[in-house]
């Protein structure tokens, strides 16, 4: 024990003797460890924030979107090998056409990292989808015929439209929907009320404002009953929402909501919708509800048996899975890039240890002349490289703390450095110190005592 302390003392002595050199050597490890920890903790914070947002909506929400022309889809099945086969089949079938970008984004998600959710994997194997549209009639059909769904709402996202109140104006994202939307999205009313079934049926010109829109345009004025303009059309403010935070980097706080019918008549000029969102009555029936919705819509769209669907149904669980797997992939990619800097740092340590051994040849000779064994010298230099690397690792953790603090201060994420990456980073930098220190230490240990005593 005393000897280990002795060696650590010697190591610190020689590290502090060349402060700048030691710091520059450690920098590789500092940056490596710092960025690996920062990336993983920010990544897990992002993941947590996404899943929290999705779960606040409820895991029993399903989304129906119009089909886009793609011969096959399987948003979550199998591993990489199966996917390769599918990809080849795709190319064959579509005559070598490039796939739509959406699928390329979604394709590699799923199975790989998360282990997948078995229920979904069984459900959606190789389903062909053709282009199609969704209409308000589809919503009515589902409302009428479905036993498992409730709170069925159409959604039409109009993107950023010109919004003005009094003299101030700007671009704001407009979502058109029905009175069912708040119970699906989890948004809470602050002032006034959300629009009602009456407003949807009669296509009234009313609007509900997100939290940021209220603060940006109205300040302390009560917006209820005020007249605003969207793309020049007059609307009356009916209610405002409480702050809801971010989902996928987007926030309802900066959106406004109008009845879907009004949007189709006045702003969209088309009777299609982007999406149908619905809640399954119980989480146990999600699969059944998807099957039910499918058959209702197939009937509604007069699709013959054997013909592909012209719409797509996904559950919020799938959404969650996709989101996590994307962040996971991102985190792993970034962390591996950062880990390369650890490797480079290790090489830097090896380099400086070789220099140190050469510089201290005489010291090694003296130590050996008075009785140091080869092993004593080996341990001395290994301790030195490990102390060097480990100090870099600890500083790197400090750096990661600083980075996450900055991220937390300037974004809505609340990332926290967890124990496991810290432990792994410390273990890793110890291993790097040992690994890259072993060659220089062996060289030192093998020096002959007389030759090193003669060394000038």
């Amino acid at each position: 024990m005393k000897r280990i302390l002795e060696n650590i003392k010697i190591a610190f002595n020689s590290i502090t003797l060349n402060k700048l050199r030691s710091f520059l050597t450690m920098l590789g490890i500092i940056i490596g460890v710092g960025s690996v920890i920062a990336v993983t903790s920010i990544g897990s914070a992002a993941e947590a924030s996404i899943s929290e947002n999705i779960q606040s909506v409820g895991s029993n929400v399903i989304t129906i979107t119009p089909g886009r022309d793609r011969p096959f889809t399987s948003s979550s099945s199998g591993g990489e090998s199966l996917r390769e086969i599918q990809r080849e089949t795709n190319i064959n079938r579509s005559g070598g056409n490039a796939r739509p970008p959406e699928e390329q984004g979604q394709g590699p998600a799923g199975g790989g990292f998360m282990g997948g959710m078995p229920m979904i994997e069984e459900e959606e194997e190789e389903e062909e989808i053709v282009a199609g549209e969704l209409y308000l009639e589809d919503v009515s059909a589902l409302k009428e015929k479905s036993d498992l769904l409730e709170n069925i709402a159409p959604v039409l996202t109009l993107g950023n439209l010109n919004f003005s109140y009094g003299s101030s104006s700007g671009n704001i994202s407009v979502t058109a929907t029905s009175e069912q939307y708040p119970s699906l999205s989890g948004y809470e009313i602050d002032l006034g009320s959300f629009f009602t079934e009456f407003d949807v049926l009669n296509a009234t010109s009313v609007v509900v404002l997100g939290y940021d829109v209220v603060t940006d345009y109205f300040g302390k004025i009560n917006p209820i009953g005020e007249e605003v303009k969207i793309n020049g059309e007059k609307f009356i403010v009916m209610g405002t929402l409480k702050s809801a935070g971010y989902t996928f980097g987007m926030s309802a706080d900066n959106s406004i909501f109008i009845p879907v019918t009004t949007a189709q008549n006045k702003l969209y000029g088309n009777d299609t919708i982007n999406q149908i969102t619905a809640k399954v009555k119980s989480e146990d029936f999600i699969d059944a509800a998807i099957i039910e919705a499918k058959s209702i819509l197939r009937e509604q769209h007069s699709i013959l048996p054997g013909e592909p669907n012209d719409f797509e149904i996904s559950s919020s669980e799938q959404l969650l899975e996709m989101a996590t797997s994307i962040t996971d992939t991102l985190v792993i990619t970034l962390a591996s890039i950062a880990a390369i800097s650890l490797l480079v740092g290790g090489i830097g340590i090896m380099n400086i240890m070789f220099v140190s051994v050469t510089e201290r040849t005489r010291e090694i000779g003296i130590r050996k002349a008075i009785g140091a064994k080869n092993r004593d010298i080996l341990i001395q230099f290994l301790t030195e490289s490990t102390v060097l690397s480990l100090s870099g690792g600890i500083t790197g953790i400090g750096l990661a703390g600083l980075i996450t603090w900055i991220i937390n201060t300037f974004t809505a994420l609340s990332s926290l450095i967890t124990i496991s990456p810290v432990v792994i980073a410390l273990a890793f930098s110890t291993v790097i110190g040992l690994l890259f220190g072993i060659l220089p230490a062996m060289r030192a240990a093998r020096l002959s005592p007389i030759e090193s005593l003669r060394y000038e």
């Binding site: 000897r3 002349a369 140091a372 064994k373 092993r375 004593d376 005592p449 005593l453």
Partner: protein, 260 residues
């Protein structure tokens, strides 16, 4: 009959410098008894340092036999040689060979670290005792660079003594010192020898060699004669007759004061 602490038979040492073989030692037969004070003399290149390194177990002979305190050194591996250097031999070098970053205590303590003796309390006392015995008690916290040459050599002697070795080996220990300081160092060696330590040292100055009891002459890698010193020079008496350094400086500055 006295115990032979060193016994060599036909020791040779061949260095290879590139393709050229250098016969540094060509068959050395040497016997040294316990408690002897022996000096090895010879011109530079005679192989005396090579012999010293072999006797001190820093190097192994190419052929021959070497028994140190009854142990056949030829049979030992690197680690066992290190242990001999640590426990049986105390080395004093011409260039002191102290570690510049350690203070006196650290330097003197070094052999203890490698001999794996624990007992921290006794260890501290031992270090202080040895440092006192070479007259450096006031300097224990100083680093070698803050000491004079003579003081540094005393530190080196203290380091050589710390593990209470049977033999002290010194390679030109006074070579880098002025004559008075050299005499002081020789006084320490003579005192150690009087207390029973075997001392072997290398020198090329006959005045220094005459402090020992026996002088061995070495030339071209072979022993070419030896001589018993009937009445070794007593270093303490020499010191009494030598002017002190301060006196010299005073004389010098008095004589030259009108020049400046």
């Amino acid at each position: 009959m006295e115990k032979k602490i060193i016994l060599t038979k036909e020791i040779t040492k061949i260095y290879k410098v590139g393709d050229i073989k250098v016969n540094a030692l060509r068959g050395i037969n040497l016997e040294i008894n316990e408690g002897e004070f022996v000096s090895i003399m010879g011109p530079s290149g005679s192989g005396k340092s090579t012999l010293m390194n072999i006797l001190g177990c820093l190097d192994k002979p190419t052929s021959g036999f070497y028994y140190l305190d009854g142990i056949n050194v030829m049979d030992l591996n690197d680690n066992q040689l290190a242990e001999i250097r640590n426990k049986k031999v105390g080395f004093v070098f011409q260039t002191f060979n102290l570690l510049p970053r350690l203070n006196i205590i650290g330097n003197v303590e070094l052999p203890l670290i490698y001999s794996r003796r624990e007992q921290s309390r006794a260890r501290k006392d031992l270090i202080n005792e040895v440092i006192n015995s070479v007259g450096l008690a006031e300097w224990i916290k100083h680093k070698p660079s803050e000491l004079s040459g003579g003081q540094r050599q005393r530190v080196a002697i203290a380091r050589a003594l710390i593990n209470n070795p049977a033999i002290i080996m010194a390679d030109e220990p006074t070579g880098n010192l002025d004559s008075r300081t050299g005499e002081e160092i020789m006084a320490i060696f003579q005192e150690l020898n009087r207390r029973g330590k075997t001392i072997i040292f290398v020198t090329h100055e006959i005045e220094i060699a005459k402090h020992s009891g026996r002088i061995i002459y070495l030339r071209d890698g072979i022993l070419c004669g030896e001589e018993k010193v009937k009445e070794p020079v007593n270093a303490c008496k020499m010191l009494e007759n030598m002017p002190k350094l301060e006196d010299k400086i005073n004389n010098f500055s008095n004589n030259n004061s009108n020049v400046i």
